[in-house]
Subunit: 360 residues, 2 copies
Amino acid sequence: MKTLYVELGERSYPIHIGPGLLRRTDLLQPAIHGRQVMIVTNETIAPLYLESTQQGLAGFEVRSVILPDGEQYKNLDTLNRIFDALLEHRFNRKCTLVALGGGVIGDLAGFAAASYQRGVDFIQIPTTLLAQVDSSVGGKTGVNHRLGKNMIGAFHQPNCVLADTDTLSTLDDRQLAAGLAEIIKYGLIRDADFFNWLEQNMDLLTARDTDALIFAVARSCLNKAEVVAADERESGQRALLNLGHTFGHAIETGMGYGAWLHGEAIATGMLLAAQLSARQGWLEPGEVDRIGHLLARAGLPTRIPGDMSTQQFLDLMAVDKKVMDSGLRLVLLEAIGAAVVTDAFDPEQLRATLDAAHEE
Amino acid sequence: MKTLYVELGERSYPIHIGPGLLRRTDLLQPAIHGRQVMIVTNETIAPLYLESTQQGLAGFEVRSVILPDGEQYKNLDTLNRIFDALLEHRFNRKCTLVALGGGVIGDLAGFAAASYQRGVDFIQIPTTLLAQVDSSVGGKTGVNHRLGKNMIGAFHQPNCVLADTDTLSTLDDRQLAAGLAEIIKYGLIRDADFFNWLEQNMDLLTARDTDALIFAVARSCLNKAEVVAADERESGQRALLNLGHTFGHAIETGMGYGAWLHGEAIATGMLLAAQLSARQGWLEPGEVDRIGHLLARAGLPTRIPGDMSTQQFLDLMAVDKKVMDSGLRLVLLEAIGAAVVTDAFDPEQLRATLDAAHEE
């Protein structure tokens, strides 16, 4: 097991990474300050891991709420089901919510914890690779609105994160690849050594080797934690974490939510960012090839869907949340391991990049 | 006009109190950092004050959302109507929400501002006396759940509060009295000089004299601001602000929400707290009489409704939110101007106090 700490002053917390953590009462107990614990999970995860988690919480008053599985349920109505459960069991302000599941469960349970009685304690047990490397660090919680993703939410830090690598054994290959996309992202934006390591160890990761997964999850969380600690409220450096996201959101919206996994869309988006960076002369063509090759080895798509036109893609990029704030700014690459946020790119090069990147 | 400042470090903000403030662009402008402003108000207030408020916001992109009026609409569904309006008009993270109305509007708009895109700017324009002295200081926002009041919410500080005393001219007498109950509360818990002033000036207040209202609102906000600045997250001193509330919530719940106004229930609750304090020997009987007399002059009820039994009252006190946390603790008085939070009272004296306080 590896443990790292997200340093946020009073609200600092540990991330434990390794196999067999669900039952580790010794890790959970220090993060719980009252007696009442509500496990928030979904219909897919509950049969697999709810019982083990309950065992790890022996001695507390443990209740659970089992939500439907899927991004389409990440809304205020589902959030209210968590409040129903908390109030039906008369949970008080000292209670703790445990998010057991992927990113959707983490976002829902985290926002419920942020808002229940104006804020209660919260533990993350992410069960997907994506959630282990992404939503377990940073404190972003929230739900979707029919007019936009993640439009309603709060910053709320967990007391503790348990990333149990055993739970990755039940992930399907697409979900695993989606997590690898985020892992590759950390190498691209600020950690060239890690990118090199990923090139050497991608086969171990896709084979779900425990030690390789622990290293990759820990190194990713460390990178994200460093960024977040420097910039908790997302203004400067934190924006680099959005590498590939403006491109990726266009694919997710254009194809309909759920057709592409978020990580898949981000993978293609990161390669588009690299290709645009190369057209601007900021990145070597050989580096673009390395990025595309690594994404492909992880099992990720790297081309724009054939039924999305370049103009549709550009239109969708223009309505992205981050664009609404400040015009079209993109995260681009000056090297593998060095990203910048910029609007100093040539729109014609952007169009040419998109034209060239469509599926055959 | 008087201006006082709530000191909360980075999140400090001014409260301006006086007549004719709605149109004061010079006061609003420094509190707005983007271009987009959403006025959140209700069907009662909009015909009276929406146009003036829009005039005060000339030069900004101003939209408004008009909600139904009443505590029964303080829920997640109504909250979502604010998000609908924000997203339909593509409001970005630099937008500002303006709460124009009483406490319900302030709580709804404040929670919407806390959660929209994980937090945007917020201005309070409270139009009831109660909201001017209570919800404009402290940063509490939120909505009700069918199983409990104010169970879902956030702490979110406004950038600025405009308490326009002209808006009090359209309040009905019961609403005015409900605000006076909270004002008297500040005298009781920590400001004996203010209590004396209220005894000398109650007739001016019920006659809605502008200067008297400005003084009373400012002195109340100052008292609350001092408490909140010392204890932003409600643990110690802030609990004193709940004088009369455990008793009052029992009346509100027992009579059905809306039958008694919150301030009316708190008034009776404060007198019950004073009577229990006297039975414990902590308060002089003459002081209890002064409190009862002042509440009556303000037009407030001071007896328990005849159709609530003492046992029903005790049962309802036991399910109050604050009781769920830590057993039955009450705010009691050691003198006018000196309150304490305590569980060191004799339950038989509590019962006797309730028995004696029923309507004839």
